[in-house]
Amino acid sequence: MSSTILSFFLIFILIILIVGSIFYFSSIKNRFEIRKHSSILNLRKSIGLSIEHGKGLHISLGKSDLHNIHGAASLVGLETLNQIIDQSILSDNPPVTTAGSGELTLLAQTKHQNVLIDKSSSTSDFHSHAYLTGATNLSYIAGVIPPSSDEDLSTQIFVGNIGPEIGLLLDANQKKSHFSLPATDSLEGQSVSFACSDDALIGEEIFSIPAQMSNNLKFKVSLLIQDFLRWLVIAIILFVLFFKIVGLL
């Protein structure tokens, strides 16, 4: 990597740290309210109804390992799983989690194990609540189809790195009238989700799920920094454009 790119990266990290500290320790953050996304509101409603009616929840975390470029989407999936498990702790039907990566599967099992410890459950069957469905793109999807076709399900969430194959899952859900929330960082996956679902999250909206699902300060501050950086990038693009038109660049 060239030293110029590394210098920019360092400046970028420093900006994030400064802005993050300002937002975290001052009261400026209280001036900003996080706009609730209609899809997340629908998801919360659907989770509530699932618990009320004793129906099941299915969460799929995508197929990306944590150590590659799509790892951040998988981490958001894990945090979403954490929040959903917390919300559905009173449910008789524990959520079922599927993943296309070994690391994600083991981390998801840890989350399920927490719930069983919290509930002081005598069973230790958290292994069957979170499992790997396949190690390749299509084998992952082929493995997700059987649990997502369960008649006892009412809500399905697909958060992580899932490609255009997500269309197969969303189509099956639509036929069964399950509520489904697709959120992927793959561009092809997003376009297919937009065509196949009413509640698809587009672009960077996937990273706002934890902030929308909980009132935790760290997620709010993270989202505020993300918004600040987006405006910063827009401003830089406009400035460069202006200087190019004027002939200074």
Binding site: I16, G71, L75, E103, N114, T133, F207
Partner: protein, 206 residues
């Protein structure tokens, strides 16, 4: 105490990886490569454990669970067959390679065919269901890019106006996807930093 140790290990690993990027060719760079190698090894072990767990899930579905799944016996038979042949003949044996690749290619090709059909039907349903501005924009752009990729505009490439139009239209998806990717990258950086500073602990039991 355990929590603090986990956060220190995670943050220290992240710091060493970043420092390795900043100082290429030094000991920090070598440490970065070692850490990445370890991560790949740990990932491979995690995958092996997850596959054994998958086998146990299907085993339970066949023999103990009330909710029986028609796919489970097929999975167990397939898994045992492939693993036995692989161990007995070796992973480079031609019969083993042919058996596994033929099965995978056949199943994946069938799934892709179903996906193509599903997406065509979904696009028809999309236009009957959604009738807002976004749907109209989506529809028009689909038609324009289908025409564009068919090469219809390349016929008049010698005409400057059509050439400019072709270039402008071709740069639209690049501009759009770059915008989305910038947003995704910002989100990814902040997610990583939350873990780096120990605000998020996906490895933590509590």
């Amino acid at each position: 105490m355990k929590k603090i140790i986990l956060v220190i290990v995670s943050s220290l690993s992240g710091l060493l990886l970043i420092l390795g990027l900043f100082f290429p060719g030094t000991i920090l760079d070598r440490i970065r490569i070692y850490i990445l190698d370890w991560a790949i090894i740990v990932g491979a072990i995690a995958l092996a454990i997850a596959i054994i767990n998958l086998l146990s899930v299907h085993w339970n579905k066949v023999f103990t669970n009330e909710k029986r799944d028609y796919a489970s016996p097929f999975f167990i038979v397939g898994f045992v067959t492939v693993i036995l042949i692989g161990i007995l003949l070796g992973p480079n044996n031609q019969f083993f390679v042919d058996l596994t690749s033929t099965t995978i290619i056949t199943v994946e090709a069938s799934l892709l065919a179903v996906l193509a059909l599903t997406l065509s039907l979904a696009s028809f349903r999309f236009f009957t269901k959604k009738q807002n501005l976004l749907a109209i924009v989506f529809g028009i752009s689909t038609i324009i890019f289908l025409l564009l990729f068919s090469g219809i505009l390349s016929l008049g490439e010698n005409i400057p106006l059509i050439k400019a139009l072709n270039n402008a239209l071709n740069s639209l998806p690049i501009a759009g996807s770059t915008g989305i990717l910038i947003g995704i990258s910002l989100g990814a950086i902040l997610t990583s930093l939350r873990i780096f500073f120990g605000f998020d602990r996906p490895y933590d039991r509590k």
